[in-house]
């Protein structure tokens, strides 16, 4: 009852015609920002903060606007993943694996609707979870020290094999390239720059967005030029957009599992949405009976990671609000916004400033519903984008990507770096080396190394510290099982039956 009355209070603050209008504007901007490669939720929110100041918005309106942008961008990231094979932001990367093959088979509309609904399910349930469990779940962060985080990242790397490339060695090679790139920048444990060659721009390391846009979007341009525009991967079959009830029913389980995994990943401040969507995808593939069709346009391979990354975005608000620890780049920007609005997140926020917390929760629920309503009819508009000839579409997307990357730091260095990543992506694709593990290596490698080094400082170099708590031991067992299970399973199921619904490409 308490929760209901609090929620009613939240809605009474957040639900006014003015804030509804801000929510609609925010959701629209967020969706566009998320869909454009190079502009992720973090820069979307960051770019809007000064605008909210100059508009003179009060605290609640600013929160409504920016949370709408935040969730909007999480929804929007999937659009370019599915339609163009270019992830709009890093958590949407997993959606390219099955979303783009679906689009090539003429099921773009189905993929967009299912992923939109999956985003809604993930984000909505995560917001409910935030509402009911935040004070309890904030304690979870206290159970995770360096050793536990290291084991968690190890689990992610051990399940990388489940991503399903034809050649496991090439996946491993790609992950190692990513880990190597992650080494660039200031070493946090000694304060020494590594592989920066005296270049100031490399001190902070390499931004994931630069790598993603380079590997996916710029390399696409090179392929396009090479084939004189005839053999571009962008060229999908259009279909009629109807609501695919059958597919939605078929993926309900995938959405719920993805939500659960993503939510847990979101609660842990060191993990975040990318890990959430990755683990959701791998887990979905592990429980599926038709493993072979993953990566070839399985609709569950779209639903699970989308539910996962949106649930993680909701889950990440828990440590942000209750501890002041941002779980991702975007929550870091939201945290900065709260601080500038003179709201200090921390253990007492729920009791001292209930109007802020419940107003925020109400704003999240409103943003979600607005996004669901907006996204289903908007799918038709987005699918229409594909009827634009690729010799116009592709340069346009590339231009936006350059502008987005330039807006990150305002330096041309990142743009050159992005082109270099484009060349790397071109070479990798020629050699049939998957690019997704490269990004995962960059994303997870830094955090994994930092935590290992911290654990070694805390234990004075004693390796047994890594297994010393029950949480870390559990994660180690899961990692080992995740690594070995596919090897043994393959032996047992040596010749899998030919799947009736598997569609070759």
């Amino acid at each position: 009852m308490d929760i209901l009355s609090n929620l009613a209070m939240g809605f009474s603050i957040a639900l006014s015609p003015w804030s509804l209008m801000l929510a609609v504007i925010g959701c629209f901007i967020g969706t566009i920002v998320g869909a454009l490669p190079g502009l992720g939720p973090a820069n979307g929110v960051a770019l809007l903060i000064p605008i909210t100041f100059s508009m003179g918005l009060d605290a609640m309106s600013a929160l409504v606007l920016l949370t709408s942008v935040y969730y909007g961008a999480m929804y929007g990231g999937r659009i370019s993943s599915i339609l163009l094979n270019i992830p709009g932001d890093e958590p949407a990367m997993m959606t390219t694996l099955d979303g783009y093959p679906m689009a090539r088979q003429g099921r773009a509309g189905e993929a967009l609707v299912v992923s939109g609904v999956a985003s809604f399910v993930g984000a909505f349930l995560a917001t409910i979870g935030l509402m009911l469990l935040a004070p309890v779940l904030s304690r979870v962060a206290y159970q995770f020290g360096p050793a536990e985080y290291f084991a968690l990242y190890l689990l992610a790397f051990c399940t990388l094999g489940g991503l399903g490339s034809n050649n496991q060695a090439k996946s491993a090679l790609a992950a190692l390239i990513g880990l190597g790139i992650a080494m660039i920048g200031l070493d946090k444990t000694t304060g020494m720059p590594r592989f920066t060659f005296g270049e100031l721009h490399l001190m902070d390391g390499i931004d994931f967005l630069v790598a993603i846009v380079g590997l996916f979007a710029v390399s696409e341009v090179f392929f396009f030029i090479e084939s004189h525009g005839k053999n571009s991967a962008i060229g999908v079959v259009l279909d009629k957009v109807t609501i695919p009830w059958k597919a939605l029913r078929h993926t309900t389980g995938a959405m719920l599992r993805g939500t659960g995994i993503g939510f847990v990943a979101g609660i842990l401040p060191g993990a975040g949405a990318s890990l959430g969507s990755f683990l959701a995808y791998v887990a979905e593939k592990a429980v599926a009976k038709d493993k072979d069709s993953f990566g070839k346009g399985n609709v569950r391979g779209v639903a699970a990671p989308e539910a996962g990354n949106n649930a993680a975005a909701g889950g990440a608000l828990i440590p942000m609000l209750t501890l002041g620890v941002p779980g991702s780049g975007t929550t870091a920007v939201l945290l900065a916004l709260l601080l500038t609005l003179n709201i200090t997140p921390g253990p007492l926020l729920f009791t001292e400033r209930p109007e802020v917390v419940w107003g925020l929760i109400a704003a999240l629920l409103i943003a979600n519903i607005v996004l669901l309503i907006m996204n289903v009819p908007m799918v038709k508009i987005f699918v229409k984008i594909l009827s634009v000839p690729s010799h116009i579409l592709l340069p346009g997307v590339t231009m936006v990507a350059f502008v987005g990357i330039y807006s990150l730091t305002g330096s041309t260095f990142d743009m050159q770096l992005m082109v270099a990543f484009g060349i790397l992506g071109y070479v990798c694709r020629k050699l049939d080396i998957p690019t997704v593990p490269i990004i995962l290596g960059i994303l997870l490698g830094n955090a994994m190394e930092d935590n290992l080094r911290r654990a070694m400082v805390l234990s004075n170099g004693d390796w047994t510290y890594l297994f010393s708590s029950s949480v870390s031991t559990g994660l180690w067992i899961a990692a080992i099982v995740g690594f070995l299970a596919p090897i043994f399973l393959r032996r047992f199921l040596k010749r899998p039956e030919v799947q009736p619904e598997a569609i070759g490409d």
Partner: protein
Amino acid sequence: MTRLTLSALSLGALAALAVPAAATECIAPANPGGGWDFTCRQIGRILYEIGEVPAPVVVTNMAGAGGGVAYANVVNERNTDEDLIVAASSATTTRLAQNAFGGATADQVRFVGSIGGDPGVIVVANDSPYQSLNDLVDAVLADPGSVAFAGGSAVGGFDHMKPLQILRAAGLEDIRQVRYIGVDGGADAITQTVGGFTQAMTGDMSEIVGFVRSGEVRVLAVLTEERVPGFEDIPTAREQGYDVVAVNWRGIYVPGGISDDAFHAWADRLTAVANSEQWQEAMVANGLAPFTRVGDEFQTWIDGVIAQTQELSREIGVIQ
């Protein structure tokens, strides 16, 4: 005729563009939302409100290399720009002391002053056996391995320097024995300390206020000259016998090539901001304590801080 109007219009547009170009610019060497961004936006707003500058101050965010990109830009390209101020804090001088700005040195710009500061603190979990700073220091002196500190900056950063300065004042010879992990921000450092993974946290007052009031942590010492208003029950390190003052100051620097007159004009304007009602309110709202040092006095203080940071950094091996 039309062409003439058009060119007249474009001339007018050019002239209109030229006016804001002469307006004061404040570079925040980080993305929107952080401490430097706050400094620029607050100082910029107040400068205009109290009539010290004729037009609203334009804030430019120039992130990269922990402020190094902006520093190089100012030194190399805008060395004589008298309408430019840049937000700075302890992180700026720490990195300059450690040569982290690619060979740039602190004498290439002029530090105008500081108008507020976030006091340094040493914090333990509320179930910790250490009741005072002396307990903690004694434990480290007896067995340096028994206490690990967590802080929001990398090794060699400002948060790391705080316990090192205290332990040096307590007579610890080999400060390399002090265990420290740098995590992602002060709140993360608190989480690790409350979770029992580290024994103490080193950070800024603003980072811990919520945890202090919820009773989850105990502040052993605040690193200021006097007790901080509003937190009178927290003892200073100085009272407990360790003469260490570490305040994460908020201030500005200007390009090195500007005239002395221009520099002193900026010092006067900054003093006006520091004394303004608006700034007093902004400080209270953001957990800052008064810490005003302007002009030549500030430069002398900065030089001392840099020298000390260099000495400690050399000992722990961050610089040669």
